[in-house]
Amino acid sequence: MSFALEAGQVVGLMGDNGAGKSTLVKMIAGNFRPSEGTMRLEGRDIVLHRPVEARQHGIEIVHQDLALCNNLTAAANVFLGRELRRGIGPFRVLDYKTMYRRAGEIFKELKSETRPRDLVKQMSGGQRQAVAIGRTMLSEAKIVLMDEPTAAISVRQVAEVLNLIRELRDRGIAVVLISHRMPDVFTVADRVIVMRRGRKVADKAIAASSPEEVTGLITGAIEQV
């Protein structure tokens, strides 16, 4: 399977359970190493061994389960794995003040009533989503991968998340949206890629496709387009 992403474009990645969507996305995010094949970013070959390296290249991911630590504050979760520190050499301590301030700015940008100093344990589904998405905004991301961002939230929050995806797109970020929900993909995506049993069976503009066709491709009723 082979595909390309373009800046400022939302690509819907669809497929049945076990089609390989999450595996594909985890390879792009540096969680898994591909056994073969190459990845190129802006014309250069990249090899990712760890999630940290993916981030250095500007690839961010929002995990399906959001990957939040309930016992930590919202700010601590946003900065998890890349905490800001101050001081010199081995005597560096966590820079709480700056992290709270930056997290506050990010939540404001997301228009989310999320308090950086509160524990994630006490937060609503929408706030938790904001924390997870806030992580992708710490640095200038080029690609944001979203694994089922609308799977476990209320209807109103789905609209919020879709708005957020549009906002990311308008900033020139390439967004990959993995979803089971046909309406979400057809509302927000510019292009759809369908996977079945580890292979790409379709890659076309949303305008040129239909929910019926995509359903057929997912189930195998339509072999390939």
Binding site: N31, P51, A67, G81, R92
Partner: protein, 332 residues
Amino acid sequence: MAVTLDQTIAQKQRSRLAEFVGGQTFWVLIAVLLACLFLSFATDSFATAKNLYNITRNVTFVAIIALGMTLVIITGGIDLSVGSVLCLCSMVLAVTMNAGYSIEIGITAAIVTALVIGAFNGVLIAYLNFPPFVVTLGMLSIARSLAMVASNNTVVFQFGPDHDKLLALGGGAWFFGIANPVLYMVILALLTGFVLRWTRFGRYIFAIGGNEHAATLTGVPVRRIKVAVYMISALSAGIAGIVQTGWLGAVTTNIGAGMELQVIAAAVIGGANLAGGVGTAFGALVGAALIEVIRNSLGLLGINAFWQGTFIGGAIVLAVLFDRIRNLRQSE
């Protein structure tokens, strides 16, 4: 007046003070203070300099290990081997010094032993995914047996040329008449508290206990942190062993037997949650203090020593009960 988004974001639900007062550690601390107050009036012998010196010194060995144990418990693990590791490290120190080596070499040997054992536990748990309970239960048996092998199951009470130095290290009071072990405990507690609150390492320990999967996905070096945590736990047992050797002036192969349970009890009473993600250095000290005050007071009040287990067990259940009630209220 309408509340703007800015104000909402700048707000914090509860202040740090409110959080502390609402916590388990605070109530256990109150219990300790009330018990001390009661004993000062009820008995003539509690509030004497000698008894307080004894209590503070007795607290230290459990408390020092409880600091290391708290880190392990915050990651969601457990270390059952600390009592045996204490024994083995004491024995390595004793045997090395008994053979005529200096105190520096003896202490180095004991600390290296502790770190090797901790690394062994940690690698099995973090890289081979062994359950911590099983690995450290195995080590509980292995370390004590090795201590017996090292000493041929004899009592060591001659520590070679640096005999007096070792006894001063553990039994002296170099600073305003405060027993040396207490000083070590306070220094180690401050260090642990600092690491937990202010370092990235401390942050990662909490993250692993809160959601290990999330920590892995966000690039936290989970395995290395886990190995480090078990090494610190074994190291704390080793340090307690060295200090205890100096204080007792003799090492037998049964010191530290059953100590792992007292240590875990101290950590849990002090607010560490065995499910992971919660715990403080201060809590470990407070928990250890409560256990020691109970032990001491039963003796002073003339209550049969057989009751000790009942009271300490009751304290464990009560301390956690308060926490459960609070959680139930929150979830409703």
